[in-house]
C-alpha cells in the first residue's frame, strides 16, 4: 500500500533539487516538472503496481526529466550561475545532476530552502505558507483550509513569496553571516506551523495532525546539520515531541476534545515523551535560554505529572520565566491558570482580569473558558455558564465548540 503522504513529501524534495538546477527564479518550472513526474508515476503504477521503493522511483524519474530538459535547452540561461557551466557541458552535466539528487545533497538543500523561505522581508504568515507550499508539498487549497483563509489570499501570499525568492536567485547559504537571525526565524516558522496543527483553526483533525508531522519532520532536519543543531533547535524539537506525545489522548472515542487534566495518560506516546526529554537534555547547553527551552520544560513537567497534576509551583515559576523572555497574552493566561491551581480560583480570576486586553485574546475561546472553570470551582455556576457560552461562540473548530458547549451544560446548577 502506498503511503498517502508520499507525493506531498517527495514534492518538497523534488522541487528543492530542481530549483537548485534551474534556479529560484524558475520555481514554476520545478513545480511543473514535479507535477508531471507524479502524474506519470500514477499512470504507470496503475497498471504495473506500486514499485518497492516509490520514493526512489520518483526521484529517478525527476532526475531523468531534469536531464532531458537540460539537453533540450542546451543553454546556461535557465540554470543558476553557480552551476551553469557544469550543467551545460555533457561531460559534467549527468554527474552534477546525480550529485544534486543524492540523498545527502537533497537533505542539505531542503535545509537551505527552509532558510530561504524564512526571508525577513516576508511576514511570518507568508514564511509559514511558503514553507508549507515549497517544502511540504501542500496545495494552495490545503494551506487555505489549514488556516481557514481564502484560496485567493494564500495564492497572493505565495506568489509574492516566490517573486521575492526569485530575486535572490540561489538558496540561502548556511555559511552566511545572517545565519543566526535566519535560524531564529526558521524556529519561529516551525513553531507556528506546529502550533497551527496543535491548536489551529482547521476543521479536520487529519489536517492538523499533518501540520504537526511536517513541522516535526522539518525540525528534525535542523538536528542533522551541525551548523544549525543549536540548543534552541533541540529545545524546539523537545517541545514538539512532548506535545505530539499527547495528541492521541486529546480526543476521546467520539472525537471530543479532552482537557489535559482529564486525559488518559496511558494513551500518551511513551516513545515520543522519551525522545522529547532526550532532546530537552541535549538542549541544555550554551548560554541562551530560549522560549522553546521554557515551553519544552513546561511540556515535560506535564508529561511526567502524576494523578495530582504537575508541580504547580514549578510550573508557575516556568511561566514567570517565559513571561520575561517572550511575554504574550496566551502565556499570561496559562500563568494565571497555574496560579489558580496553586493558590485557589479567586487568585486565578484576579490574574486573568489583570491581563491587558488584546485583540489576540478577545477572540481566544480559552480565556472565557478558563474563567468558566475557575468560577465553577469558586461555586458560581451561573457565571461559569455564561463564560462557557461566550467561549463556545468563539470556538475555532467543531471540536472546540462541542467541548465548550458541554462545559456550559455541565455548569447548570442542580
Amino acid at each position: 500500500m502506498l503511503d498517502e503522504h508520499l507525493f506531498r513529501r517527495e514534492s518538497g524534495r523534488i522541487v528543492t533539487a530542481l530549483s537548485r538546477i534551474f534556479g529560484l527564479d524558475n520555481i514554476a518550472l520545478a513545480e511543473d516538472v514535479a507535477q508531471d513526474v507524479f502524474c506519470r508515476a500514477l499512470e504507470v503504477w496503475k497498471l504495473r503496481g506500486v514499485p518497492q521503493n516509490p520514493s526512489a522511483w520518483l526521484m529517478k524519474a525527476a532526475k531523468n526529466r531534469a536531464i532531458d530538459l537540460l539537453r533540450r535547452e542546451r543553454t546556461a540561461s535557465n540554470c543558476v550561475p553557480e552551476l551553469g557551466r557544469l550543467l551545460t557541458s555533457e561531460w559534467t552535466m549527468v554527474p552534477t545532476v546525480n550529485e544534486l539528487f543524492s540523498a545527502e545533497t537533497i537533505k542539505d538543500d531542503q535545509l537551505r530552502m527552509m532558510f530561504t523561505c524564512c526571508d525577513p522581508r516576508l511576514s511570518e504568515d507568508a514564511q509559514v505558507a511558503l514553507t508549507l507550499y515549497l517544502l511540504c508539498g501542500f496545495t494552495i487549497g490545503e494551506i487555505a483550509g489549514a488556516f481557514l483563509s481564502k484560496n485567493s489570499r494564500i495564492e497572493k501570499r505565495i506568489e509574492r513569496g516566490k517573486k521575492l525568492l526569485a530575486s535572490s536567485k540561489k538558496l540561502f547559504d548556511l555559511a552566511d553571516v545572517e545565519l543566526a537571525s535566519r535560524l531564529s526565524a526558521v524556529h519561529r516558522t516551525l513553531y507556528l506551523l506546529f502550533n497551527e496543527g496543535y491548536h489551529g483553526a482547521s476543521r479536520t483533525a487529519v489536517m492538523r495532525t499533518e501540520l504537526c508531522r511536517e513541522a516535526m519532520r522539518l525540525a528534525a532536519l535542523l538536528l542533522e546539520n551541525d551548523l544549525v543543531a543549536s540548543p534552541p533547535s533541540y529545545a524546539l524539537c523537545a517541545l514538539m515531541w512532548l506535545h505530539a506525545a499527547r495528541l492521541p489522548a486529546r480526543l476521546d472515542s467520539r472525537g471530543n476534545l479532552v482537557p489535559l487534566a482529564n486525559q488518559d495518560r496511558s494513551r500518551w506516546d511513551a516513545r515520543l515523551i522519551e525522545r522529547g526529554n532526550d532532546f530537552l537534555d541535549r538542549s541544555a547547553s550554551g548560554r541562551e535560554l530560549s522560549e522553546y527551552h521554557v515551553e519544552a520544560a513546561i511540556a515535560s513537567l506535564h508529561s511526567s505529572a502524576r494523578d495530582g497534576g504537575p508541580d504547580w509551583e514549578r510550573l508557575l515559576w516556568l511561566y514567570d520565566v517565559l513571561m520575561k523572555i517572550r511575554p504574550s497574552p496566551v502565556t499570561a493566561l496559562n500563568r494565571a491558570i497555574a496560579l489558580a491551581q496553586k493558590d485557589g480560583p479567586e487568585r486565578g480570576i484576579a490574574a486573568i482580569r489583570a491581563i491587558p486586553a488584546s485583540e489576540q485574546l478577545a477572540s481566544y475561546p480559552f480565556l472565557p473558558a478558563a474563567l468558566g472553570e475557575l468560577e465553577l470551582r469558586a461555586g458560581r455556576a451561573d457565571r461559569a455558564r455564561e463564560h462557557f457560552q461566550a467561549a463556545a461562540a468563539l470556538a475555532r473548530n467543531p471540536m472546540e465548540r462541542r467541548f465548550l458547549e458541554s462545559r456550559a451544560e455541565a455548569a447548570i446548577p442542580v
Partner: protein, 111 residues
C-alpha cells in the same frame, strides 16, 4: 479459459496528486483482485498520449493517433476469462469508469 485484451480508452487525468493517488489505489486493488482470481495474464503497459500515425501508400506520417483525447488508448492488459461475456463482466470493476473512460474488451484470436 480464453484470452482477452483490455484496451483502456480515455478517462480524465487526475487534477491533483491527491486525487490521482486515490484513482491509482483503486486501480491497484482492482488489478490485485483480478490477479488473485487468476484472471490477470499480463499486467500490460501504459501508453504515452502522443504518437505518430503512418498511413497510405505514401507512408505519410502524421501526429496521432486521434484528435479526440477520449478515444486515445492509454494502456492495455491481457486477461483470462471463460468467454467474452465473462471478460466484459470482469471489466465492469475497472476504476476507469469513475473518470468517464472506456474499457474495450477484445478476444485474442484463437488458433
Amino acid at each position: 479459459m480464453s484470452e482477452f485484451v483490455y484496451l483502456y480508452r480515455g478517462g480524465r487525468r487526475a487534477e491533483s496528486p491527491a486525487e490521482g493517488e486515490k484513482q491509482m489505489q483503486r486501480w491497484v486493488s482492482w488489478m490485485q483482485d483480478l490477479d488473485a482470481k487468476g484472471h490477470l495474464k499480463e499486467r500490460g503497459q501504459p501508453l504515452e498520449g502522443e504518437g505518430k500515425v503512418v498511413r497510405g501508400k505514401g507512408r505519410s506520417v502524421t501526429d496521432g493517433p486521434y484528435p479526440e483525447s477520449k478515444d486515445i488508448v492509454g494502456g492495455f492488459s491481457l486477461i483470462e476469462a471463460r468467454d467474452l461475456a465473462h471478460a466484459a463482466e470482469l471489466a465492469g470493476g475497472c476504476p476507469i469508469f469513475d473518470a468517464d473512460g472506456v474499457v474495450e474488451v477484445r478476444p485474442v484470436m484463437k488458433m
